[in-house]
Amino acid sequence: MLQALEGSQAIAQAVALCRPQVIAAYPITPQTHIVENISKLVADGKLQCEFISVESEFSAASVVLGAALAGSRTYTATASQGILLMAEVLFNIAGMRVPIVMTCANRAVSSPLSIWNDQQDSMAVRDAGWIQLYCADNQEAVDTTIQAYRIAERTELPVMVCMDGFTLTHTLEGIDIPTQKQADTFLPPYEFSRTLNPRDPLSLGTLVTPDYYTEARHSHHQALLNAQAEIVSADQDWFAISGRKCGGLLSVEGPEQAKTAILTIGSVLGTLREALEEFPPGQPVKLIKLRSFRPFPAETLKAACKELDDVIVLERALSPGSGGIIGLEVLAALSELPKPPRVHNFAAGLGGRDIPLEILPTLLSTLNEPSDKRFKIIDVELEKLPEEDR
């Protein structure tokens, strides 16, 4: 049954359906509504769990780590500065191969201070060793949250569910909240394989010399690559229960014969769908929604792009001094194709700048422009800058 729910409210309900035993969080815009809603569920007795309001994001991540090691299903959520403060613990959680689910309400990173949406925060910790799944709308965020627990628990890898701050977290949509029975069927009670137990003591997080460190890293890398199958199967199995799917690793929509595709992550997909109706392009255009950024689905992407002439990558973050982040990875993957498509890489919508429907004709117009730049912030207003910064 569809209900009009704010994204954060829906996430709180989805988390409750997963029966976490320990939740720890620290408030940060735009994640706050999620933890406020969870607090209310706990206060009303609708969610039985230990809810710990910690004194920092660093401790939020540390508390859920400790709780997971002691055998509980856990949850936390954060954004932006919070992710960066957590960064050290995020690497630690992943390296210890602990299943934890976290929502990242994507937000720009200071300085300059911005509370609004882009995806610089989760991109900054892309190498932490977490699975990162990006959501195009709030229904996907609900379904992905539930799937994330199964993926995390089967792979013993932490999963970050990324949803655009404000654009999704603070927006009302018609959302189908699954039933408890559906969630329980999909997500049976879980026992962590290395639970701390005085009857069978283990030492975790030990010092590793160069004799073994490389092997630990290799096995972590391999586990992330192997997680692709779990991400796909979780989506399929959830479809069998709920009738909805989120697109596995990535999904493609649009005319079969299209030679041009626009690849995005997150909620900008909705803008592009609408723009294709508002400004029908001269040539057929496909949309590629990259859902899994880590693991990066290179093979699936190559299969989706092998007939294309042009791939436009539109992202909401950048690596200053280099350029696009996703664009570079797409370029690297597609270069392995016998006839690689041209990759055009743009960033837009940084720090909450609105991405209007008009972005579609602007993006497509660049295909015919001779350009010596492989990356550009497409919506920058250079006239606001002094001459030397343009």
């Binding site: 910690v54 401790s59 400790g66 002691a70 055998g71 030990t206």
Partner: protein, 331 residues
């Protein structure tokens, strides 16, 4: 009459089973106070515990993978989050209806400095955790750098004496008072010189439902510059001079102290350690710093009322049993 089953007392003592949470064979330096303290704490805490250990010597010397000296569930996450990891473990056990007690272990760096925020959060939220700070008064694991626990005027690699300096310029942070100011049920200091006092305090803390804190003075022969077989003597002198008061605080108020029967001259303690050797030179500033340190000892004796009435007390600095000497009760 001798029978075949007769065993000499010395051997019988060795055969007495005693739970060991930390086994021998780890890689601590000779005379390491921290290793001894950790063994005493885990012995008394018993097997039904789990530990969150901050980064530091204790973590490094006990667990070079794939070896481990721990016989209890033990996890090391990071330097500054032992309090928070322990809090999470406790919350999980509570949610699962289990009674296993959670311990958090940190050095002075992981407790006084970098892990202070996570510790404060853990205390404020009332988690049922015994936090043990192994206080060896500097960052020993990284090579003896000053921490906020390093005593005034002590030499470390980042507080060296020289033309412009006489060792650490600042005072040792009074962490136990700060911890007690969270109004937790129980906070105490102890010293490896007095093992039965440590045992007593651990048992006491274990019985309390709520956050408790134990700060144990642990000499570091390498970092302090004394012989490894002098660790106990050095630790005992720290107490006997008044420089390391042994106290207990309940709900923020002073509840008990270890009285000092024979207050020893502070220089006896300082002279045993290379970290204070610059204070025994002709430098006029050295004399001044010695006066400062004496003032600190006097202040401790005064505010905690450490001076005993001179009578024999099995719980005072001379009566409490201590390694190689026994106490009054064993004499």
């Amino acid at each position: 009459m001798t029978t075949e089953t007769a065993i000499p007392i010395s051997k019988l003592r060795k055969k007495q089973p005693r739970f060991r949470g930390l086994e021998s064979g780890h890689r601590a330096c000779l005379g390491c106070g921290e290793a001894l303290a950790a063994r005493l704490v885990t012995e008394s805490a018993g097997p039904d515990v789990m530990v969150a250990n901050a980064t530091g010597c204790l973590e490094i010397f006990t667990t070079p993978w794939p070896e481990s000296a721990w016989r209890i569930p033990w996890v090391h996450s990071l330097f500054e989050n032992a309090g928070a990891v322990a809090a999470g473990m406790e919350a999980a056990l509570k949610a699962q209806g289990k009674s296993t007690k959670v311990l958090a272990f940190g050095g002075d760096g992981g407790t006084f400095d970098i892990g202070f925020q996570a510790l404060s959060g853990m205390l404020e939220r009332g988690h049922n955790v015994l936090y043990v700070c192994f206080d060896n008064e500097a960052y020993m694991n990284t090579g003896i750098q000053r921490s906020s626990s390093t005593p005034h005027a002590a030499m470390t690699t980042t507080s060296p004496p020289g033309k412009e300096r006489m060792g650490k310029r600042h005072l040792k942070k009074d962490i136990v008072s700060i911890v007690a100011a969270h109004h937790i049920p129980y906070a105490a200091t102890a010293s490896i010189a007095y093992p039965s006092d440590i045992r007593k305090k651990v048992r006491r803390a274990m019985a309390i439902e709520g956050p408790t804190f134990l700060q144990i003075h642990c000499p570091c022969p390498l970092g302090w510059g004394h012989e490894g077989d002098h660790s106990i003597t050095v630790a005992r002198l720290a107490v006997q001079t008044g420089l390391y008061p042994i106290i207990e605080l309940e709900r923020g108020g002073l509840a008990n102290v270890m009285p000092l029967r024979n207050i020893r001259p502070m220089t006896e303690y300082l002279k045993m350690q290379q970290r204070f050797r610059h204070l025994f030179t002709d430098d006029l500033r050295a004399k001044e710093e010695l006066e400062h340190l004496q003032a600190i000892a006097d202040h401790n004796i005064e505010i905690y009322g450490l001076r005993s009435d001179g009578g024999k007390d099995a719980f005072d600095s001379e009566g409490m049993d201590t390694v190689r000497r026994g106490g009054m009760r064993w004499a």
